[in-house]
Symmetry: C2
């Protein structure tokens, strides 16, 4: 047992057997589906009550969470876990407190279920309603970060969905405590719904999960773009995720050039591994000579490796700008690297972004609102910004309460995805024995009155 | 040239070369994407104006449409086109008039673009808006029915999307006239947007279309479930469609049994090939003995082949009920066939439907609204009905104006899909140089004020 955890009695750590009595993944996911149906029947008030219980448990069992996390971190340090994963794995007292606060934030959001979106009277005594409903069961496959469990757990319960979690091996013990807390919070309300959260731990179980397209309604892979692409290729279940974030900032000729440096530095360096960090900067030719030497120097001073087009290299001849290749325009570095291109005008910037971008987050820096409007209209991306860091593209920063992930798909939920990405709707038609034949023969006709 | 078309001067029929100058499918679809970007910039008023021009052209060029359709029908009769396809191919003066009416109906709907769905002030001078926007380019692959072109054409223009159409070879000439009308209506407004509708005619071009996941945002296959599954398997583009419609009617013990016969007959026989026709009937055991002999006799009198579970066969011993196999519960017949099962209670009915149904359209017949409510809540399907024929599950009948298709997916658009299925949204963030670092360091905090 690692040193730091010596004071922690082993018995308070949940036994694997407690969470994983049933070895059969299919049976466990089916149980989750059944329990989720009972969860979906609860009122919004009851679902919020479960969230508040969970927040209380996170607080009262803080020592247990931290003990498990310490053991995971020690094992990671002793083993061969990549440093970037190991770093994201660690949490502390403030981190645990923050988890509880975020769960309470989700409880405070309006109930996304239980209202009617639209009502149409098709004819006398034949009324159609469109109502929101949960998707059913969501599977989230994620790496190290322990705050994923409370975040997606609270969104799933708030929206009445079952949840299949598969965390990284490196966070095994932390996830086990957190999942146990969710199940305890559910069971405290009603033992029949305890199984609506299910934690899987074995990598081999992922392939089984991806084949369960009758039982699972949505898969959310959170991890490297290779992993996301693997899931896209190996599942018939709809996938919410994104393969890459090739984000651009276009510096217009009417940009505030001083502010531009600060926004670009923040977008690149505040957290370079994030999908919303900037990878390419396009600069209007008219300001390139004035702006580029200062930008490149600032980037290099911040430790960023700069690549550039022919014109950028010419302008910054006395700075070390690496020539950009075609591959650079397609690449998400997730690192302190950035490629710069001079463009003739707004049109060339928009064309370039629509051709090479990943439709994630794209930004224009300009004081000219007419130019900005065209950029925001014509660039095809989930998030389009004027004069702000690309790093703002995030569910928490957008005020969505929590984030299930970021979607590069255009269908359903796009960009940072909160509760609404976990909902669908159904049409309910209530009649009194109406048949279509009468309408087809012209004996009756539709009213289609919006109520 | 077929006899009936002899009076029709060949020169009024559009030459293939007119529509298909560019042999290269990729280049044509890319042109469609560019033209669609210009279309999306138009005001709602302008897009409606194009629709009204198209409706006028459909009316004024009615003879041309009917001439082409007559030639297609003759060729189908002479060739080896399946009778069911040949029948759906034919249109007449009333059919053409109806096309124009439906296009005008879509023009009369509210503009789905140009409004703001939500505004959040993240902080001073940092405002996030969520706005609807077109998907981009939609590809619709369809069989014979000529009214598909005006229906999906009007939805595409209304929502600012480009449209790639691939019609059945059997409707080649009819589609060519109709597509030419759309392009003329677009060109009359602005030649730059004429190419936002593109008609493909060769079967071999389908595979090319399915590979163009950068240029096409949504594929809508309309045809057999084999074809829909083929598209699902062969494309990385999101697909909107449905593999099958295994729809159930559950006859509760509190059903109005007389009305039940009429609803089941309509659901089965009004158009048996439709995906929303009923395939299975579940009957509560308490009413089975009274209800089943009458139901089976009525179905058989209407030419329906009846299959049944053991109990159904027992009760209807003197009627010719074929024993149902496990496969029957999974099968969409699209034909005058129906399988019946006696169930012990509502729970068994719900379990059966959630296990075997295709999440398309499911119906309960009951006068007991509490039972109905549980069914409507717990059955997992896009459309859930009480006391009405399953055949009502249709975009026109729902009052959506027109229908792009029916989706069995839970994500994005579900059930009969009108305009909203062709839209996505984007987040627009307007700032004044804000960087994330300040918020991460706690120097500033978010307001998240809904405006």
């Amino acid at each position: 047992m690692p040193e730091q955890a010596a004071g922690q009695p082993a018995s308070t750590l949940p036994d694997k057997a407690l969470l994983d009595k049933d070895k059969d993944v299919t049976a466990r996911v089916q149980k989750t589906r059944r329990a989720a149906r009972a969860l979906a029947r609860l009122s919004g008030h009851d679902r919020n009550h479960i969230l508040i219980t969970a927040a209380d448990l996170i607080k009262s069992r803080s020592a247990e969470i931290l003990g498990a996390n310490r053991m995971d971190c020690d094992a990671a340090a002793a083993g061969n876990v990549a440093p970037v994963l190991a770093k994201r794995l660690k949490t502390d007292e403030a981190g645990v407190k923050e988890m509880a606060v975020r769960v309470r934030d989700v409880a405070a959001l309006d109930d996304p279920l239980g209202h009617v979106q639209a009502t149409t009277e098709l004819d006398d005594g034949l009324v159609l309603q469109k109502v929101p409903c949960p998707l059913g069961v969501i599977a989230v496959i994620f790496e190290s970060r322990p705050d994923v469990v409370p975040q997606v757990g609270s969104l799933a319960i708030k929206t009445g969905n079952g949840l299949v979690l598969k965390g990284g091996v490196e966070a095994r013990l932390t996830n086990r405590v957190l999942a146990a807390i969710w199940r305890d919070a559910l069971a405290a309300h009603d033992p029949a719904i305890a199984e609506s959260v299910c934690l899987l731990e074995e990598r081999a179980e992922i392939m089984q999960v991806l084949q369960m397209d009758r039982e699972i309604d949505l898969v959310v892979p959170r991890g490297s773009s290779e992993f996301v692409n693997f899931v896209f290729k190996n599942s018939r279940i709809p996938v919410m995720g994104h393969g890459s974030g090739v984000c651009h900032i276009y510096v217009d000729k009417a940009a505030d050039l001083k502010a531009a440096i600060a926004v670009i530095l923040d977008s690149k360096t505040q957290y370079p591994a994030a999908c919303n960090s900037v990878e390419k900067v396009l600069v209007h030719d008219e300001v390139a000579r004035r702006f580029l030497p200062e930008l490149v120097a600032a980037l290099q001073a911040a430790g960023v490796e700069v690549r550039g087009c022919e014109r950028t290299k010419q302008i910054c001849a006395d700075l070390n700008v690496i020539p950009a290749t075609e591959e650079d325009w397609h690449t998400e570095y997730c690192d302190l690297k950035l490629t710069i291109k001079a463009v003739r005008n707004l049109n060339e910037a928009i064309e370039h972004i629509n051709h090479y971008g990943s439709r994630h987050t794209e930004c224009i820096l300009t004081q000219d609102n007419i130019t900005a409007e065209r950029f925001l209209d014509e660039v095809d991306a989930a998030s389009v910004f004027q004069n702000a860091s690309t790093r703002f593209a995030d569910g928490f920063r957008y005020g969505l309460g929590a984030e299930i992930g970021i979607s590069n798909s255009k269908l359903h939920a796009r960009g940072p995805v909160g509760m609404e990405g976990l909902l669908t709707y159904k049409y309910r038609l209530r009649g009194s024995g109406q048949v279509v034949t009468e309408y087809a023969q012209g004996k009756r006709s539709f009213k289609h009155k919006k109520l």
